[in-house]
Symmetry: D2
């Protein structure tokens, strides 16, 4: 029994067929993990393999050839990919998840993106880093947009900027602009190769640079609108998964990546410990009680975390199928629990790494990379457990959410 095995098997094609296809390519993805880190960008073979399976089209509208996989199946596949390579899962997952968000945008935008290239992908930087000057028919956007995971493999970007939002009574709110990659005559964003970090290096989360580029209204959505079913394309696609807030689909990959990497670290720990001896005494480490106790506790921690994440995924899928948007209770719970899951995965992995002695600190040790990668999954804003508990706790107490807490 795998500690993070699916507690309840997700149901329904085309998800299961996709899962089978992805399973076949996992050994190659795993073999490219070190090279992905080295290159600070997902290995091209990994991208090509996942493209061939259909994974990158998992959340794309059927109208454009997408699979519209349910989120439970999608999430379990992503965990599998993260076991093979955390950076690949994080970056490719985000590209796939963005297609769900695009499916909520205006039909014009979707046709522009996918008519000629049904496999087009978008990376993102959704914090409101940009500045936008209102002009006739749209805005002129500028800014540096940090940490756009997977941008090397996309031709569009979803970029955040603030402006007054009619849906929020005119208060300033975040908006998202679809911008193409600059290409010869086409104005757009360029990539600043500045992703020099200690974890998830392979995600290639570089900075996108935009200098006074026009973005038409049909390629701009209010973040609030995307959350509450008031985006320009909401209701256009009949598929279940588009009857939803964008948030839970957009953000489902962070905790999944954390779980997958932690799961892999647990396996590496188990194999190492079976044969590990102490330098000073020659004693077998695995025969000692602490080695077993740490392993079991991390296993249980991962199992609990995964069980709860799958429970949420099932609930999100059920809510999408219900034809109604999620309730405030559901939104608050799903938002916060995924941060808890990430925190648990990190703690489980850190316990095992800490119990593994000095050898695992060498650069040629897989466990060292796994540990850095899983720790960094917690550094994303969406994984910030202090924010998550303040938001969710206040909700449970019936209090207003502090707007300083995103």
């Amino acid at each position: 029994m795998k500690p993070v095995a699916a507690a309840v098997e997700p149901m329904g094609s085309p998800g299961l067929a996709l899962r089978d296809e992805v399973t076949k390519v996992l050994p190659r993805i795993s073999a490219n993990a070190a090279a992905t880190e080295q290159a600070r960008s997902v290995h091209p073979e990994n991208v090509a393999l996942l493209r061939a399976t259909g994974f990158l089209n998992a959340f794309q509208p059927a109208l454009f050839g997408g699979l519209e996989v349910d989120i439970h199946t999608y999430g379990t596949i992503l965990i599998d990919i993260a076991e093979a390579c955390g950076s690949t899962a994080w970056a490719m997952g985000l590209l796939a998840q963005h297609s769900h968000m695009i499916g909520l945008m205006s039909p014009e935008a979707q046709h522009e993106i996918w008519d000629d290239n049904p496999d087009a992908l978008a990376s993102s930087s959704v914090a409101p880093f940009g500045t936008a000057e209102p002009v006739n028919g749209g805005v002129r956007l500028s800014g540096r947009f940090g940490w756009s995971s997977g941008c090397d493999h996309a031709t569009w970007a979803i970029l955040g900027f603030p402006q007054p939002d009619p849906l929020m009574g005119g208060k300033t709110g975040s908006h998202l602009a679809m911008v193409p990659l600059a290409d010869g005559n086409t104005p757009g964003y360029t990539i600043d190769d500045d992703w020099q970090v200690a974890g998830l290096r392979g995600t290639g989360s570089k900075t996108l640079v935009v200098d006074d580029v026009f973005v038409p209204h049909y390629r701009i959505e209010s973040l609030w609108g995307l959350r509450v079913g008031q985006s320009q394309g909401y209701g256009w696609h009949p598929g279940d998964i588009f009857c939803s807030s964008f948030s839970h689909y957009f953000a489902c990959g962070f905790a999944a990546t954390a779980l997958g990497v932690a799961r892999r670290l647990l396996d590496v720990y188990t194999e190492r410990t079976k044969t590990r001896v102490r330098a000073y005494t020659g004693a077998n480490v695995g025969e000692g009680a602490p080695a077993a106790m740490h392993l079991a506790e991390s296993y249980h921690q991962l199992f609990g975390a995964r069980s709860s994440l799958e429970a949420d995924w099932r609930a999100i899928a059920a809510r999408s199928r219900s034809g109604e948007l999620p309730t405030p209770d559901e939104m608050a719970h799903w938002r916060a629990n995924q941060a808890y899951v990430t925190k648990q995965a990190i703690a489980a992995a850190d316990r095992l790494f800490t119990a593994s002695g000095g050898t695992v600190w060498f650069d040629d040790q897989e466990m060292q990379r796994l540990w850095r990668d899983v720790k960094m999954t917690g550094a994303h804003t969406y994984s910030d457990y202090d924010v998550a508990t303040q938001r969710h706790g206040r909700h449970l107490l019936g209090l207003e959410i502090d707007p300083a807490l995103f």
Copy 2:
């Protein structure tokens, strides 16, 4: 959304009908909780109400009128009862669960127990406290058998003692003897009212005293045999739930009680915190970040614990339906994970109690009782997480389990 709501609804009558019946009597059970603690015995009204719902027959063989409810449904009902009264859930749960074990014993024993009184219940003390002298046709048993929860409401007892076990190649192993309550001419056990403790007082887990009582072979089972499908009555009842080791049914109530009590404590905390003010400053406690953060973290912790426990219950039920005994991997996982769930429930509850100031320490405060009760769920041998992690960790490492670890 309740933090410990069922992640996946359990299915199938007669479980759901039972759940509805139990739900109706929960307010009375809750109203009797303080009196149950005071009397150090489950309130007679609670026993009568649960009997009327059929709960006490949940795991009894259909042949004798039992419901043979699946374990997932049963467990969710037990959590609900524990929210109302932890002691009632613990003690009545054990009585109900013991009927599953009896269903694996010899047909002679089952007829003797249930033919005249289909509602007969047994309490237990399964540690090998007894001494048995082999005699013709059985043994003569003596001993003091501690902590027999719910014994005030039973007429039989399941009592442990060691003797050579042919199923274990003749090595000494634990055995269980069915002994009746002494009654006029009938020799049997008597009750020593010595349950003076700081938690779960209402379970009335008193000492049973046996002085040289004859027990025939057909009322003796090897503990090992009950675990591995080699008891005298294994295979006699066609119902799914009897295609199993006794262990997972017998022991399913400890973690369920912990979760239910912790869940109730979380609700009490939430309500208190909404209106709590600081003595020195008059400040509203709930408006402060720590109050919200503690609440959310305990909520997530309970949700994860419950999600994993339900996942295991579903797996146990599926294994029972499969017609095959559980694998060693499953046995090791289920045994250990329930201890982890209990530990999580205690931690979640302790966090909230600790954050509740001095007033909750008064004897008239429900939260104080809830805290003592949930802490004590961790004191059972089966909840010992040090034992659980050593056992499970060694299993995961492919090592033999130390027989000193039960």
Copy 3:
């Protein structure tokens, strides 16, 4: 080496002589611990013994016969008393510590209290529970004042109420009134015997009731004034210990009690574990790795906590000797660190109690009382670590302290 042995021996008579005297009576105090809990009041013999040693005069001004012991010596003695009986240490410690506060009040008040009875003691309830009507020469005070530890053994009470404070620019601030025990013709407070709690029962922290009693100005001090060297009697006594804020002397007993009780629990755990066997297997618990690991970790945790508390006591004593009031950095640090020490003591004790199985839950087990007592030391407002970290953290960040956080 005792885990909470004094890291550096405190110096200077009369402290060391007092310590020797107290050491002699500890066995009697320990023998009275269960009776103290039962009576919900410190055993009269414990009071008499401590009085005879001079402990109750430790912080009393020399002018009235007090010993003016340095805080480091005092604290180490209090830890010793708490090892023998937590309730005695908490309650008798507060009575002794209050004499330091009285030593900062007006000479008139001190003469009134001690001239006729140099052994007079005061209990307290310093949260501003009272209401005061200004009248000529003072106020008329009314209110119910909760949790006045040791009140059975005192003839005065220090009671809190709010009124405008000239020292704070006229803003409302807490004040403390000295009120005598009602006695025949003397109006004063009466005791409501309502201390029915789950921990530190023996402190007898009952509610004091005051109904429209006149308190003259010379028996009223501003809490703020007592903190910053602006009380009516500040500077009157030449002894070192009165060159100080009242706070650190007043509050030094909470963490000391926690450490002493936890230390005793560690000893009980060590002795029990040496001979403890598992009910199911007969295995010796102490031979298992977890028993040793829990013991060592709790030992280290207590050693670190005590080392830091002693470091602070030495610093407080040195600051008193310096003739200058403490700096804001010192005040912030000492206030917060004692809450951390208490939290560590509780965690160390809870780890060992949790690892001790079910037997320790019985009412006749010392460990059970120790566990309840040490847990409750954390329920005092001054031990609230959420408040302590918010206050101290903001201070370290150079931010204002939120007045809602006392």
Copy 4:
């Protein structure tokens, strides 16, 4: 007040003068920290500066020009150096500490090492990695000796190998051989530059390679003998610090480095947090309760850890002055507590790093290096808390120490 300020000022020249000298060079050492990591070797300027202060001679016998500084003063200096550069503190500290061990070896060896070059230093690899063939007058040693911190700056190495030990009744025990750096005609060890790791890179803990080199008896000591005052040079030097087991002096730098690096990380966190804003909301992070709470808790944790370590250093120094070897209780306590201190320092630092968001993960951020460095201090065998608690716990329970636990 610095959270890790000296709780009690260490006393006595020449320690204090040395401390003043080292303080002057700390800004340069800090400025070289990044280059030290980059070069995977302590920056030559750092070595030269520390040599000029006399720090590298702190524990060297006075006969050869050493300072014989007491361990409390030495430790506080080392913490200061670790605040400036963890790798420099670790590596240079070990070189300095080794001179204490050499001071316990045979006079012949000491003359050979220091007569011509009083500043000669030795690195080490004390695990018994070597194999030794007994020959006339000594052994012929071979082996690869891993992780010899600071070896680039030494001309001798202390290398471990097993052989029968008369002091242990002939049982095989670890021995240490003094071997010179190979140099032209002199046979000795060579350095394999293989230190490619994720933390404490600047320690340059490379592998020393020895191929069939003769080592005479006077340059070989039994590890056991060095622990219990039975080495060839024990008693030769009259200075206090040589009346001791080698262990506590040899190993005093690990926890000190952890504390210093963690302390620096706390300062960086404090400064960053004052001005940090959230990307999505622009909210000031420092104004939120969690930022303050994490800071205060880590501060208290470091303060407690440092207080306890200083208490131990004072006790070690006092024991050395007493003229008697430490008791078994002292040995067990000092050995284990330094591992607890290291664990606390890591936890304090990890809490703050985790609360610092994504930016700190970039390679140009000091906090990222500090975090990797402090985490790695826990990977040393001597910091293994599982080993420490098993050893110490068993000692406290009066049980034999398992020889598999070093």
